[in-house]
């Protein structure tokens, strides 16, 4: 070990383990975006008219936003040419739609196996239903029967449009309207698939629902849309995890997630994100521009976002909660790790509208290499939100002397009874800590990952057990490197 910085840098220059490309013929539309493309997407999916109309309204709105691509985030990237992208691609074997796992392209299943995603038996035993999204179309859904017994609807968005159009029409865009922001509007126009989940009144979803995302086809923008509705007194825990193959060209991902929690309902949404971050020089990698928002619609409803973000070249993401119901609660727990030239601008918005609403924000940012990591969070207490409470804690850990950590808290309190607390710390991983571990016989690599895991402990505790283990492993992979 030379200087402290060098050694820590060495430790964290780990390679990306999930870099391989599956060869599957994609049934793709030609690149470019216009009304015909929107109509073609809608026709391919045999959508009812309300869907097509909604997409077209979004598209026409998006045209007006052309010069309004957001620039306020602390991230830099070359201008995206939206006419060079392909807006629809489906694995070929999807033409008739797989009826069971046996019908799923074996190449695809092998891809999931390489990624360590146990799609069938192991997962079955673990009690997790998997709705795997490969490029744009869902290819396998398990456990439907068991969920159906409980009255839970868990399916691809496309299926929901076919089988539950009234629910889709009622809730689609009710939390994130198609006019919301540049990327959400684009998503509304061209989204290809995603997940849909409906928990009926009083039902506690009998298992953790899980979706794995993966970006594959070259130059394919992926536009997922997830909609989760929890009726009165229901509960659901939803897990989302992603990995992507190695790519040289940047890929745009602009997903939208909408959550609706009615009276006394609770939604826990957990994400582990590990998309290809680009190489050491910042080449390649995913642009992850995501709009996630939950609406605590009913009184005493509860929405909790937990995220572990280690991948993507650029992350632009603010899972938010609108606390409309009285006594409703919103939570945001986040670990964001950036290495090499990764950039992350992530945080949350807690919008207090109802009385006695409470929100908690715990954000842990870890920067290494030359990465930039920003927390951006808004806490707004509206005039009618009596006795609103917020607690925010933002901690940053720096692993090198060339990286950056930034905190942008926005606080708007329009009600004198509101109480908002904000704490922030920034620490540098200590050569002292590292040496202390090594003097006890611990590998420097293990020591770094242990120290980082310790730093993230508050957030990992909020993850479902199984996901917490994955998250720790992911941090280890993201931090691993050659030690002399």
């Amino acid at each position: 070990m030379g200087t402290g910085t060098d050694s820590v840098n060495q430790l964290i220059e780990g390679g990306y383990k999930h870099g391989f490309v599956t060869e599957i013929d994609a049934d793709s539309l030609p690149p470019g975006l216009n009304e015909d493309v929107i109509r073609a997407i809608s026709a391919k999916k045999q959508e009812p008219e309300f869907m097509l109309n909604w997409r077209l309204r979004a598209y026409r709105h998006w045209i007006k936003l052309q010069e309004k691509e957001p620039t306020w985030a602390h991230v830099k990237y070359p201008r995206i040419n939206y006419q060079d992208m392909v807006y629809y691609s489906a694995p070929k074997s999807d033409k008739e739609g797989p009826k069971s796992l046996e019908e799923v392209d074996p190449e695809l299943l092998r891809t999931y196996e390489k990624l360590g995603i146990p799609l069938h038996e192991q997962k079955a035993l673990a009690g997790v239903a998997v709705d795997a999204v490969f490029d744009s179309v869902s290819v396998a859904t398990t456990f439907k029967d068991k969920l159906a017994e409980a009255g839970v609807i868990f399916c691809s968005f496309s299926e929901a449009v076919q089988n539950h159009p009234e629910l889709v029409e009622k809730y689609l865009g009710s939390v994130v309207p198609y006019t919301d922001n540049f990327f959400a509007t684009l998503n509304a126009a061209v989204f290809s698939d995603g997940s849909f989940c409906y928990i009926p009144e009083g039902v506690r979803c009998p298992m953790e629902l899980s979706t794995y995302f993966r970006i594959n086809a070259l130059n394919t923008g992926q536009f997922e849309r997830t909609l989760i509705i929890a009726e009165k007194g229901s509960y659901v825990s939803y897990l989302e995890g992603c990995t992507a193959p190695m790519r040289d060209e940047n890929q745009l991902h602009a997903a939208v997630v909408e959550l609706v929690a009615h009276e006394d309902a609770e939604i826990k949404y957990s994400t582990v994100q590990n998309w290809y971050p680009g190489d050491k020089d910042g080449k390649g990698g995913i642009y992850n521009f995501v709009t996630k928002r939950g609406l605590c619609k009913g009184d005493r409803s509860h929405i909790s976002w937990t995220q572990v973000e280690t991948g993507s070249a650029i992350t632009w993401k603010y899972p938010s909660v609108i606390l409309r119901g009285d006594d409703s609660t919103g939570e945001f727990y986040s670990v964001a790790l950036t290495n090499n030239l990764q950039q992350a601008d992530t945080g949350t918005k807690m919008i207090h509208l109802g009385k006695n609403t409470r929100s908690t924000i715990i954000s842990k940012g870890i920067s290494a290499g030359r990465a930039q990591n920003s927390y951006r969070g808004l806490v707004r207490v509206s005039p009618k939100a009596d006795n609103a409470r917020n607690f925010t804690q933002c901690d940053s850990l720096l692993l090198s002397d060339q990286c950056g950590a930034h905190t942008y808290p926005y606080i708007e309190n329009k009600n004198p009874s509101g109480r908002i607390e904000h704490e922030a710390t920034t620490t540098r991983i200590g050569e002292d800590q590292l040496f202390y571990c090594r003097q006890r016989g611990i590998d420097p690599e293990d020591a770094v990952s242990m120290i980082v895991n310790g730093f993230c402990d508050d957030v990992f505790r909020k993850l479902p057990m199984e996901f917490a283990v994955e998250a720790q492993a992911l941090l280890e992979v993201s931090l691993e490197g050659a030690v002399g």
């Binding site: 800590q433 090594r438 006890r440 016989g441 611990i442 590998d443 242990m450 120290i451 310790g454 993230c456």
Partner: protein, 254 residues
């Protein structure tokens, strides 16, 4: 066990150790004393593998290995333990997890199977009494929000669990009240055995009332200016470090 001949160390232009020679045999307890700035903590740090020093030595061997060829973790796995003057906080990692990771690193090095958490906990519990701390301590984050005394007791717990061959204690007695001092001394004494060696670096004589050393060395300005038996420490206590200055050079052999 430990063999040092003409050890010199500098940071930039400043020479801190100016030719230290020291021989520590198995079973021996050595005390290294000296005023502030004499280089005694530097000596401890260099032995444990801390970077940042330019080091030269005619000989610097531990258990027959050239210490300068060993990384800090290799030294630790070979049984060289340092109790830190300022134990480091690691938030979010429990004491028990830290200790087990360390313990199993040593076992792995010896080609032994790792101890599972149940067996390990049982083993650690048996050691807790010796350092007078209760079990809830194990769930707390490593040294985080510990009092000074708790940090030092924790160092002793780690030492007892890891069972080193050579323990180097860097001012372990500093900042302790008399009860804690007795506990810490008890831990050191319980480690004493024919095949183990202990080097205590200390400013004060009071620890040596509890742990009687076989040899005492007095360091001043980067050199060992005097070596002797336990009574040397007492003489020093009475006469102060000023007394040494007058005799410096007279008995500079190790």
């Amino acid at each position: 066990m430990l063999s040092i001949r003409n050890l010199r160390a500098r940071v930039g232009e400043t020479e801190i150790l100016k030719g230290i020679s020291l021989e520590v045999n198995p079973g021996e307890v050595h005390a290294v004393m000296g005023p502030n700035g004499s280089g005694k903590s530097t000596l401890a740090r260099i032995l444990s593998g801390r970077e940042g020093y330019e080091i030269t030595a005619d000989k610097l061997e531990y258990m027959g290995h050239d210490l300068l060829e060993m990384t800090p973790e290799e030294r630790a796995r070979e049984g060289l333990f340092m109790a830190f003057q300022y134990p480091v906080e690691i938030p979010g990692i429990s004491n028990i997890q830290f200790l087990r990771t360390a313990y199993n690193s040593v076992r792995k090095h010896r080609g032994e199977e790792p101890l599972d958490s149940v067996d390990f906990l049982a083993m650690v519990k048996s050691r807790l009494k010796e350092v007078d701390i209760d079990q809830s301590f194990l769930r707390r984050s490593v040294n985080t929000d510990f009092s000074g005394g708790e940090k030092k007791r924790n160092e002793m717990l780690q030492m007892l669990v890891l069972e080193p061959r050579l323990a180097i204690l860097d001012e372990t007695d500093s900042g302790l009240d008399i009860d804690a001092l007795a506990t810490v001394a008890g831990s050191i004494n319980s480690l004493r055995s024919e095949d183990r060696s202990i080097v205590m670096v200390t400013h004060y004589q009071r620890l040596l009332d509890y742990v009687v050393p076989d040899h005492v060395h007095i360091l001043a300005d980067g050199r060992i200016v005097k070596s002797g038996k336990a009574d040397l420490a007492q003489k020093l206590e009475k006469k102060g470090y000023g007394w040494l200055a007058e005799h410096a050079g007279e008995e500079a052999e190790a």
